[in-house]
């Protein structure tokens, strides 16, 4: 079902009727940004069953006065990508993007297990995704353009975790894909007729199936907000 949907969307994008294609304004852009919380809660079977953490990174942190612990922060990701856009009849927008996101901060520290023993914890994640979104784009004279698009993305990621203590030695790597729903709010400021500065807020919601890796089970969660800024070049 998912594969058919992706193929259908790509076919529609590539084979749009000629009268629409003839009136399309093409542009391409590059952007960079960040994602405040990558991977959702990074929950896995080992965390629930061996560490008693029902919500992954959201409740893995434990500390006491006599213990040597270190706060495990949420994964903050750096993201970047390129996109290709077509605007037809001035107001209708279709976009195809390619994004890469990698964690650059957080995800490491020390916590306690159910017996009070110290556990070294490590999370990391890398994602690439191809969003295809359609929507509306309003030009405000020739200065500004505001766009709101929605669609889906093909997202594939690698989620790694490891939990090491005197009684637990678990590490896992999950390579998985999903088709999250994507919503993108974007603003552009035109520097000249063909070049604009853009910034956007991207929302992804979706996760993969659960997969097994060593003795752990987890899904890759691609949900979260991203902020991007970059430039767009119009071919006029």
């Amino acid at each position: 079902m998912r594969n058919r949907l992706i193929i259908l969307l790509i076919v529609i994008f590539l084979t749009a009727p000629s009268y629409i294609l003839a009136g399309i304004e093409y542009s391409t852009g590059i952007y960079f940004g960040f994602m405040p919380s990558m991977g959702g809660n990074l929950q896995s079977y080992v965390q629930r069953n061996s560490l008693g953490a029902e919500n992954g990174i959201e409740d893995i942190n434990r500390t006491s006065d006599s213990s040597d612990t270190e706060k495990i922060d949420r994964l903050i990701g750096a993201t970047g990508g390129i996109e290709f856009r077509g605007i037809f009849r001035d107001y209708y927008l279709i976009k195809l993007g390619l994004n890469f996101t990698k964690d650059i901060y957080g995800g490491e520290g020390k916590t306690l297990d159910l017996t009070g023993d110290t556990v070294e914890v490590k999370y990391s994640m890398f994602v690439y995704d191809i969003p295809v979104t359609v929507g509306l784009s309003i030009p405000f004279w020739k200065d500004v353009r505001i766009s709101l698009t929605g669609g889906i993305a093909y997202a594939r990621g690698t989620y790694k975790n490891s939990f090491k203590s005197s009684t637990l030695n678990s590490s896992a790597k999950f390579n998985n894909w999903a088709v999250p729903v994507v919503i993108i709010l974007c603003g552009e400021h035109f520097i000249d007729n063909n070049l604009s500065l853009m910034t956007s807020i991207n929302y992804y919601k979706g996760a993969s199936e659960v997969k097994k890796s060593n003795s752990d089970y987890a899904r890759n969660d691609f949900s979260g907000f991203r902020w991007n800024a970059g430039v767009l070049m119009y071919f006029r």
């Binding site: 959201e58 434990r62 500390t63 009070g116 500004v144 910034t199």
Partner: protein, 219 residues
């Protein structure tokens, strides 16, 4: 002499009326649009972000927000700083033992955000902006468990994303509406799991806020 004084005062009065008339019908030469000070109020649902704790049954804490802001608009960029105070309207409650010993949250905080981003000026009508930044949060309040009620005081840095629109309603005055998302969480502050004494519940300031405000531009 009396007659010439009266005539003089009459001329002054006429001139004053004509001057006032001219001000009213004249167009403003240039509105101020560089530095503005604003005050706003807003709302946040689920302060403490209990919704991130999956599979728990809860009612989120509702809080009102009162804040001030300073915004510097240098097209196409903007810089915005401010201070927001969250005031609890209704406390957060866990409806059963799905979150261990946790029963109630009464959290208040002061946040000091600084944002930068792109400003999309819609000629003289208004602006739309999207930006990112960091936020310093000074949190306080009470957390009630089955054992006791714990006072908490914790500070934390977080990240934020902001989008907003501003509409000009006067020469130097604007109204604005903003949607703010912040991600920030403290280290554990209280114990909520049964059978253990370690602290395992953190104050999570992550969530969405809506602001409505009024700003006056001085430059």
């Amino acid at each position: 002499m009396y007659k010439s004084c009266c005539k003089y005062l009459y001329m002054v009065k006429n001139f004053f009326i004509i001057f006032l008339f001219s001000i009213i019908i004249a167009q403003p030469i240039k509105a101020r649009d560089f530095i503005g000070f604003g005050i706003h109020s807003g709302l946040q649902y689920d302060v403490g972000n209990l919704g991130a704790m999956n599979n728990i049954d809860y009612i989120g804490q509702h809080s009102a927000i009162a804040g001030i802001s300073i915004k510097i608009d240098s097209t196409p960029f903007f810089f915005r700083a401010g201070a927001d105070r969250s005031i609890m309207i209704a406390k957060g409650k866990v409806l059963n033992s799905s979150a261990g010993k946790l029963q109630e949250l009464k959290i208040e905080y002061t946040s000091i955000p600084t944002y930068a981003g792109l400003n999309f000026k819609i000629r003289e009508r208004g602006k739309f902006y999207i930006g990112f930044g960091d936020v310093y949060i000074v949190g306080s309040g009470k957390i009630k468990t089955t054992d006791r009620e714990e006072n908490i005081n914790k500070n934390v840095f977080g990240l934020g994303i902001l989008t907003g629109i501003q509409l000009r309603v006067g020469i130097n005055t604007k109204v604005y509406a903003e949607w703010e998302y912040i991600s920030a969480k403290t280290e554990p502050v209280v114990n909520i799991s049964t059978g253990n004494s370690y602290k395992d519940f953190s104050i999570d300031f992550t969530g969405h806020r809506i602001h409505f405000g009024f700003s006056y531009y001085i430059l």
